[in-house]
């Protein structure tokens, strides 16, 4: 048979350039295929540690992002009222000198009047350093809005966290349990991991109110009631303790379970009993006498009682064996039956203890004890936003880490493994710095880990020093700041007003604020002639909703047009077996007058004369961000990039190497430093790992530590709340500090539960689609076809009770507002929960979409229902976790009512906002490619088709 010839040897491209993806925060390696200098195709880089060749829906659509018509094209200055969208294009010189003219006087008089906050920024080690040198205490990224509970809960407990900072031992784990995990950071690695588990038939369990995505493929699904994960976890702990299914050896060796807790009433109660050298100690089982916690050969007695002081272990057992934690006692509240809880506990115990494994890998611990092998418990966990974004999220995260610890499943084979620079104890992190002095830098970084009330960022009068009230009594452990409170606090003048708000990649007037409508009001509110927030500088690559609310726009490049460094100083791309960092570099040149924000920031720093950014003669120290990436040294020999230092062979430490970026580019835009084999597990206690980490420059001396079942920093805050110590919380916060700062993981009802009594009984959640990242995806011609509409999914109980039909709309209200939205039925959903895809809804006129685009007409946000403040009870408190300030958006309670047909103009979601005018932008983008019509058919019939192609 005579078959047509088919082209099988297509030339894919004339050049492949390897860089790092930025279609979300996952940081995969990509091969960008270029044809005649333009991007032809993007695929995953097979050699890259994060994605190993695979790429998600967003990554493969990057070509539509770098050509999106929404790209800004030149610096802009506001000419009309704020929010009117009236801008004029200005030169970079004008833009930079304007910014300097605004900022310089602030630095010289009151640096705190500049608030610099960044959104989905991956250059926090630069932006933080810049703000530190400017001297304002008001800096953070958007972690407080995102998932700080997971980070802080983990670091305070195990010295590492979920997020992308660790991962299950995918090769060995036999049971993988997820709590509140949907698409998130570590997007492709989790998918790759689940794929590995599925390929070998390992068991996957998901605890999640919504059964989609990872929960959909899970072998078992527990449709828990939102905000009760902590209670379920503590009940599992109860079951395990009751049956004695815990890893005593692990607890006695690697955790603070054998430390003694002061029993005597007073300012020391609940703190560790310390010896003359101020060191906590254990009771040695061999002698019955005190022995150093880090002494060689010591066999700590978990059950010790010494001079009336009992061990952490005993406190813990007493707490969790209480009948309050029995499955039967928590079942109704969690929406999970007692037998299901008991079955899950049994399954955990069975895999951890009956299917235990051991690697034949000798190693030596920090005490000098030698071990012939590495025992492991093949149970692993992952958790993220679902448990994090609640007002009890910090304690819930701690509870989950405690469960891991009790099973002996952290840093052991088959369990959960941390990635360098983690594990890293609190003690190895800085404390927060905040004291601002005109014309001077801060004495250290803004963000850190508070050990006691002494570390809080408070002014002499006891008021919060930071505009977001970070590290104050309201949220002492706010390790990522509270970006969601910056605008509300600045607007309220609580704790004070600011002059200039400087934002990067943060869509505050839309989906990056808790209550978008209120924030829009605040941004445009006036005090006399001037705006309450007088100046707003914003940098973004795209015409987002926030652009219209800024006074000066510094247009950023797209991710393929820029340098970036994904640094060990910040959030690297490490794997459990290797530290890793990466770069972005301009694989294409911008075709418009835009600049990499980080280069702009360095130039602003130079013009402002900030320390570290100018030479002695006052000239700029760095030409641009690329120059900084190579030549900046945070500590001698330690810079943003660890690879190819010195003569090109030095790793971690070494002099700057002018060829460093070329070497990275040649290496696929990343570098890996491999963890020695004997250091792969038990890292916090493994001498070989500690030595390797010091060699690499992760820290200056070995930092072995014990996992914190009992948190002394938390107890110190409880003591303060009980009236001990010189620094005292305001009275209205005493009760909640006493509750939230319990040194053992506990559960309390999320603050939002109060709303049920006001007639808002239903939980309302959002989830990210795997194919969309926040707002960015909607401007993408391919991705928006996949998800250009969202619905509120209603569980069967609500659907049937109110007689909902396909195509219906519902009025959804909360204590903060009302929205009218399209609904759909979902059976695989907790019966008291509704949810929707996050950030599909767009403001009319934004992102270069047609005002009639479905994203702008039927698309909606839940944000309009969420308040950034708790209901007023005499104090202005943020709607956040009381420990960390994590925005508690999953606490949200609502009421859902069917909108009778004819009662509402179906087709338009409410509330509607006025259309934003189109700012000057690049245009172009995916060709319209008009569809077929008669005239065209005729032209083709006449053979004219080729002309129009």
């Amino acid at each position: 048979m005579n078959q047509p010839r088919v082209e099988t040897q297509r030339e894919v491209s004339d050049e492949v350039r390897q860089t790092t993806c930025y279609m979300c925060a996952c940081r995969c390696g990509i091969n960008v295929h270029l044809k005649s200098g333009t991007v032809a195709y993007i695929e995953g880089n097979r050699d890259h540690p994060i994605n190993k060749g695979v790429l998600c829906a967003k990554g493969a659509s990057g070509i539509m992002q770098v050509t999106a018509p929404s790209r800004l094209k030149a610096p802009l200055r506001r000419v009309g009222p704020r929010g009117s969208g009236a801008f004029e294009e200005i030169s970079w010189e004008e833009a930079l000198s304007t910014a300097v003219a605004w900022m310089k006087p602030l630095r010289n008089t009151a640096p705190e009047k500049l608030a610099f906050f960044t959104g989905r920024d991956q250059s926090q080690s630069l932006t933080g350093w810049w703000a530190q040198n400017f001297g304002t205490p008001n800096y953070a990224a958007h972690g407080g809005f995102c998932s700080v509970n997971m980070a802080a809960g983990g670091i305070y407990t195990i010295g590492g966290a979920f997020w992308e900072f660790g991962q299950p031992d995918w090769e060995r784990t036999k049971l993988f349990v997820m709590f509140g995990v949907a698409e998130d950071h570590d997007s492709n690695p989790i998918k790759i991991g689940i794929g590995k588990l599925k390929a070998r038939g390992a068991r996957v369990i998901s605890v999640n109110p919504v059964r989609t995505g990872y929960s959909a493929v899970a072998d078992d699904w527990i449709g828990i009631t939102p905000g009760t994960d902590g209670l379920l976890i503590l009940s599992l702990i109860h079951c395990l303790l009751e049956a004695g299914k815990i890893d005593l050896e692990y607890l006695s060796q690697w955790t603070n379970a054998p430390l003694l807790v002061t029993e005597a009433e007073g300012a020391e109660k609940g703190l560790f009993v310390r010896n003359a050298e101020s060191q906590p100690f254990v009771i040695d089982r061999r002698t019955g006498h005190p022995a150093p916690w880090d002494g060689k050969g010591v066999e700590p007695d978990l059950g010790a009682e010494w001079q009336g002081n009992r061990t952490v272990f005993r406190h813990m057992v007493e707490e969790y064996l209480k009948p309050d934690y029995a499955p039967e006692a928590v079942a109704a509240r969690c929406g999970v039956t007692a037998p299901r809880i008991r079955a899950l506990a049994a399954e955990l115990a069975e895999v951890a203890f009956e299917q235990a494994l051991s690697l034949d890998q000798p190693w030596t611990d920090f005490r000098g004890n030698e071990h012939a092998n590495m025992p492991g418990r093949p149970v692993s966990f992952h958790a993220m936003r679902g448990i994090s974004a609640h007002s009890n999220g910090f304690q819930t995260a701690r509870a989950l880490h405690l469960l891991q610890i009790l099973l002996g499943a952290v840093e052991t084979p088959g369990g959960y493994r941390l990635k360098p620079p983690y594990p890293k104890p609190i003690e190895a992190h800085p404390t927060p710095h905040f004291v601002s002095t005109p014309g001077k830098p801060l004495t250290g970084p803004h963000l850190g880990y508070v050990r006691s009330p002494d570390d809080l960022c408070l002014l002499p009068d006891g008021q919060p020093a930071r505009i977001d009230k970070g590290f104050s009594w309201e949220n002492p452990f706010s390790a990522h700041g509270l970006m969601h409170m910056v605008i509300p606090n600045a607007h309220a003048g609580d704790p004070y007003r600011i002059d200039t708000l400087f934002l990067y990649m943060a869509n505050m007037s839309w989906n990056s604020s808790m209550n978008s409508a209120r924030v829009i009001e605040m941004l445009t509110a006036k005090d006399g002639e001037d705006y309450v927030i007088p100046r707003i500088i914003y940098s973004d690559a795209y015409a987002s909703e926030m652009v219209a609310y800024a006074d000066l726009i510094l247009p950023d490049t797209t991710y393929l047009e820029r340098h970036d460094c994904i640094s060990l100083l910040d959030r690297p791309i490490s794997e459990p077996d290797a530290a890793g960092d990466a770069i972005r570099w301009p694989v294409i040149e911008p075709d418009r007058d835009v600049r990499c924000f980080q280069s702009v920031l360095l130039e602003l720093g130079a013009r402002l004369g900030l320390p570290g950014m100018v030479n002695e003669d006052g000239s700029p120290k760095f030409k641009d961000y690329a120059d900084y990436m190579v030549n900046h040294q945070r500590r001698p020999g330690v810079g943003p990039l660890m690879g190819f230092r010195g003569d090109g062979t030095a790793e971690g430490r070494g002099a700057p190497n002018p060829d460093q970026l070329q070497r990275y580019i040649a290496n696929g835009a990343f570098y890996q430093a491999h963890v020695p084999e004997e250091a792969s597990f038990y890292k916090p206690w493994n001498a070989a790992y500690q030595d390797w980490a010091v060699r690499l420059g992760l820290y200056e001396s070995p930092q072995p530590y014990l996992f914190n079942i009992w948190s002394e920093p938390m107890r110190r805050f409880q003591l303060a709340a009980e009236g001990h110590g010189p620094r005292q919380p305001p009275d209205h916060l005493r009760d909640r500090l006493r509750q939230a700062m319990h040194p053992l993981p506990i559960w309390y009802a999320p603050f939002g539960d109060e709303d049920a009594a006001f007639g808002y009984p239903v939980h309302a959640l959002t989830q990210r689609p795997m194919d969309m990242y926040h707002s960015w995806g909607s401007q993408n011609a391919w991705l928006r076809q996949i998800k250009g509409r969202n619905y509120l999914y209603l569980p069967t109980k609500i659907w049937e009770a109110q007689g909902f039909q396909a195509g219906d709309w519902a009025r959804v209200s909360s204590r903060a507002g009302t929205i009218v939205v399209p609904v759909a039925h979902m059976a695989a959903l907790n019966e008291n929960t509704v949810w929707t895809w996050n950030a599909i809804g767009k403001r009319k006129g934004a992102w270069a979409l047609s005002p009639e685009a479905p994203e702008a007409t039927t698309g909606f946000l839940l944000n309009h229902l969420i308040s950034e403040l708790l209901p007023d009870k005499g104090a202005r408190l943020s709607n956040s976790d009381p420990v960390t300030g994590q925005a508690a958006w999953f606490d949200q309670r609502v009421r859902v009512e069917r909108v009778a047909a004819g009662d509402h103009l179906r087709g338009t979601a409410e509330p509607g906002f006025p259309e934003l005018p189109d700012p000057p932008r690049a245009g172009g983008g995916r060709a319209q490619n008009s569809s077929k019509n008669f005239a065209k058919s005729f032209r083709k019939l006449l053979g004219l088709a080729e002309v129009e192609r």
């Binding site: 078959q3 492709n188 078992d220 699904w221 303790l241 009639e852 685009a853």
Partner: protein
């Protein structure tokens, strides 16, 4: 050409694991990107009120009411199944639609396509989409321009959707060879055909979701009656063992 080959030497195709597919849509845009660069897959009104475009692979999401247990959710990628008995081929009036004798891939020769749409009508699976700009029928080529392409590294010679799939839920291989990885997966996991009664004899197979539900571990037995012994008794028992 619209006569189907009597038999094909190979049956290249995909095996899609519904137990593993999380519905991330990665395969959808990898396919779109690769084929847009190759044969062109247009979009209409890309930033407008009614966007629409040609995609050769789409991922649906279903909820399934099951007899025991809560409803399940299954994400379901849908693309050409490269049927043995492909009705889309025989209906084609021009010979543009054909099934390759050497490997069983069903293709469209765009140079011969008149865009009548009949092949799309004939396909029960919605595997073919007329490109509104080019006026010719588009379909999954099983990346015939990748799998034999000497310009690509050996390990990259697989369909773009398979290469990109983060969970490895998509497998590519020769289903005529019982020893191939894909054939063995089908045998082990009970791979099945879509709408077998339509008589199309699809090459692509789907692996069903595995049985779901609570675990089967023996219930935990309390160490002792804590109410009776108190915590002290528990500690004795527990730490005595230790």
């Amino acid at each position: 050409m619209t006569a189907l080959p009597n038999a094909t030497a190979k049956k290249l195709g995909l095996v899609i694991d519904l137990d593993t597919c999380v519905g991330c849509q990665a395969c959808v845009t990898a396919c779109k990107g690769w084929n847009d660069a190759g044969i062109g897959l247009s979009d209409q009104d890309p930033y407008g009120a009614d966007p629409s475009g040609t995609f050769l692979n789409r991922v649906h999401s279903y909820q399934v009411a099951v007899p025991d247990g809560p409803a399940q959710v299954v994400t379901f990628p849908r693309s050409c199944l490269h049927c043995d008995n492909a009705p889309c081929v025989t209906v084609c009036p021009t010979g543009a639609s054909y099934k390759r004798a050497e490997d069983g891939i069903v293709l469209v020769n765009e140079d011969a396509c008149i865009g009548c749409g009949l092949c799309a009508w004939a396909c029960p699976y919605g595997a073919r989409e007329m490109d509104a700009d080019q006026g010719v029928m588009k379909k999954c080529t099983l990346c015939v321009d990748r799998i034999y392409n000497d310009n690509l590294l050996e390990e990259d010679r697989e369909p773009a959707c398979v290469r990109t799939c983060p969970t490895n839920a998509r497998h590519f291989g020769d289903l005529a060879d019982p020893e191939s990885k894909v054939s063995q997966l089908v045998a082990e996991r009970g791979g099945y055909d879509l709408m077998p009664d339509m008589g199309t004899k699809p090459t692509n197979k789907y692996l069903p979701p595995r049985q779901k539900g609570p675990g089967t571990a023996d219930p935990l037995t309390p160490l002792l009656d804590i109410k009776a012994t108190g915590i002290a008794g528990w500690l004795d028992r527990m730490l005595g063992k230790f």
